[in-house]
Amino acid sequence: MRDVAVIGTGMTKFGELWGRSIKDIFVEAAERAIEDAGVDHVDSLYVGSMSPGLFVGQEHLGAVMADYLGVNPIPATRVESACASGGAAFRQAFLEVASGASDIVLAGGVEKMTDGADVIDVLATAADQEYEVYHGITFPGLYALIAKAHMHQYGTTREQLAAVAVKNHRNGAKNPNAQFRSEVTLEQVMGSTMVADPLRLLDCSPVSDGAAAVVVASLDVAKKLNKSFARVIASAQASDTIALHSRQSLTTLNAVVNAAQKAYKMANIKPADINLVEVHDCFTIAEIVVSEDLGFFEKGKGGEAAAQGLTSIDCGRIPFNTSGGLKAKGHPVGATGIAQIIEVYEQLTAKAGSRQVKNARRGMAQNMGGSGASCVIHILEAQ
């Protein structure tokens, strides 16, 4: 396989973008990425999106976006893997360039969630309709089960969950594209409205609109452009049972463990070689479990690590979610995986401003769908 690099990025601000359509925001992000990359064409287009049909009544998103972006007749395909759609779209772009089939590919992600659809119902389509949703459970409920099991098994506390939200809001406050740019306190998180015990409102990522796009190219093309780029040194994906109850353990996400093992092997590195991680903190408990399953902390110690500040930007051992994560940056589901790649790219090219991690050489992006039934992991390295 050929070496592949991220050569340009673009995204909209995440949030309630009521004045603009799904097409508007995707085109804005894609145009910015193409302009940033400085290329005069792309060979193909992947659009990560979870459920545009249910959110805004529009399917066939590859063709729609190619049309409005004005890049016809190149191939354009929508990629769907629930909340991991963005990561999966990026992986398809990576594979297409790595295989030699294309030299320059645009990978974008988009979701328009605040235009009036019943968001809870739409998101629940990523769970098992017959065996989970039928009984009335929704994602906050599923992650609450994971949280309860983690608390029971490892003594993880309510305060430790809250520490994740406090840290991510602190980071998000420094991110101009974040939906929430305000800090929160432990007391505010623990006193916020109960959603699904033990998860409260400020443990949950918000409902968001947003789009993000990156241009990937062969290393040869990247070098010729004479611009800063980041090399993709690992791309891995894994799957697990769709239903939470089918798993041996509620507190280990096997898709994360398996995708991480493949990624480390492909990059030939260990967790200790990574300088920052963007993880899929759809709920605070997810960041804790994932931080363990990626091998950064011993199983059961993720909560403690968060509470001790080991995952914060400055005093931390390994900064998690410098962008603010899904919690503060926002979670337009299809765009999330691409936005994670953008944060890692900005950190590795020293463009992260006040969020900058010093001497960032390697960064990881971990994106997952449902209650962890799919997981996509990428590792990028500074040039």
Binding site: E16, W18, G19, T114, G116, T193, M194
Partner: protein, 348 residues
């Protein structure tokens, strides 16, 4: 001089506390009262509706105006809960109060601003010289779906204003309206309860339209917030009117006289009109009053009033709205409330 010659409000005696509704649905009562600044709301009695509320409010307006009802040339009732889908509300009112039959009547609907529409058109008739008196009423027994956030606020009440040119108690100096197609809240034909766009009802709807009308009105009048003793804004909850006032540069002290909503709820078409009566109840000659309504869908009507010497003569002629709000209350439990609001299906 054209303006208000008589005004009156009416609020039902029944109340339900927000915490009772919150507990019914497993919500955190403190989060509701703190977040929305709503403590209790009025509930219409079993024999009350928009028409009876309009009649009571108009009786109080007639007591203050002391005019012959026959002299009223137009009657407009603004409401989103007219008892009949087809049949005017005002025909019942005119016959009950001895107005007409030589009178023009109409029912208005524009979510929460139908009341100020009625006031605006009534004022325009008098100003044009077409008639000596015209009546504008805003009243509602508003609907909130069980368990919906609206259930904490949707209440009942109204206010009536007789516009005229003799013995004016509050002269209308300027008006301005601001309207756009913004579907933040709606109820389709045949549906029992309205639907709403959640947070979309805030910035792009309530705040944009009130600020749009208010800013243009201040410019038109060449006035600034500090010129006014009182300010009245539509009150969907306790928080919004204070917030929009702050954004425009009004103080809490200017707004709180008409700020009935924490204990009255949102009387929809009767919301800002009822607040205006609370202000007129205590106003002194020379006071300037700034008022902007809001109706979903969406639009705002703005008025600037100057209180005259006549105000002292009329304030005591009918009950004041704060008195109706604070005295003789009867609290309902959720079961009684559900019965009163006809939320219980009977085998009829």
């Amino acid at each position: 001089m054209v303006g208000i010659v008589g005004y009156g409000a009416y609020l039902p005696r029944y109340r339900i506390k927000a915490e009772v509704i919150a507990r019914q649905w497993g919500a955190d009562p403190e989060a509701v009262t703190r977040g929305l600044q709503l403590y209790e709301k009025t509930v219409p009695g079993q024999d009350e509706d928009t028409i009876t509320i309009s009649v009571e409010a108009t009786k109080n307006a007639l007591r203050r105006a002391q005019i012959d009802p026959k002299e009223i040339g137009a009657v407009y009732i603004g409401s989103e809960s007219h008892p009949y889908a087809v049949k005017p509300s005002a025909t019942i009112l005119i016959d009950a109060l001895g107005i007409g039959p030589h009178v023009h009547v109409a029912s208005y609907e524009f979510a929460c601003k139908a009341g100020t529409e009625a006031m605006y058109v009534a004022y325009s008739h008098v100003k044009s010289g077409e008639m000596n008196y015209a009546l504008g009423v805003g009243a509602d027994t508003s609907q909130g779906a069980p368990g919906d956030a609206l259930e904490y606020s949707a209440s009942a009440g109204g206010a009536a204003f007789i516009m005229g040119r003799d013995k004016v108690v509050a002269e209308i100096l300027h008006t301005h309206s601001y309207t756009s197609d913004t579907p933040d809240f709606w109820r389709r034909e045949g549906e029992d309860y309205p639907r709403h766009g959640g947070r979309f009802t805030g910035d792009p709807a309530y705040f944009k339209h009130i600020m749009g009308a208010a800013t243009a009105l201040l410019e038109k009048a060449r006035m600034s917030p500090k010129d006014f003793r009182f300010a009245v804004f539509h009150m969907p909850n306790g928080k919004f009117p204070m917030e929009v006032g702050k954004r425009l540069g009004f103080t809490k002290e200017q707004i709180e006289t008409g700020w009935l909503v924490p204990w009255m709820g949102n009387t929809y078409s009767g919301s800002s009109p009822t607040a205006l009566t609370a202000v007129l109840d205590v106003a002194r000659p020379g006071d300037l009053i700034f008022m902007v309504s809001f109706g979903s869908g969406a639009g705002s009507d703005g008025f600037i009033f100057r209180v005259t010497d006549e105000i002292k003569n009329v304030q005591d002629r009918a009950p004041r709205v704060r008195q109706m709000l604070e005295e003789k209350k009867i609290y309902l439990n959720y079961g009684e409330y559900a019965k009163f609001r006809r939320k219980i299906k009977l085998n009829e």
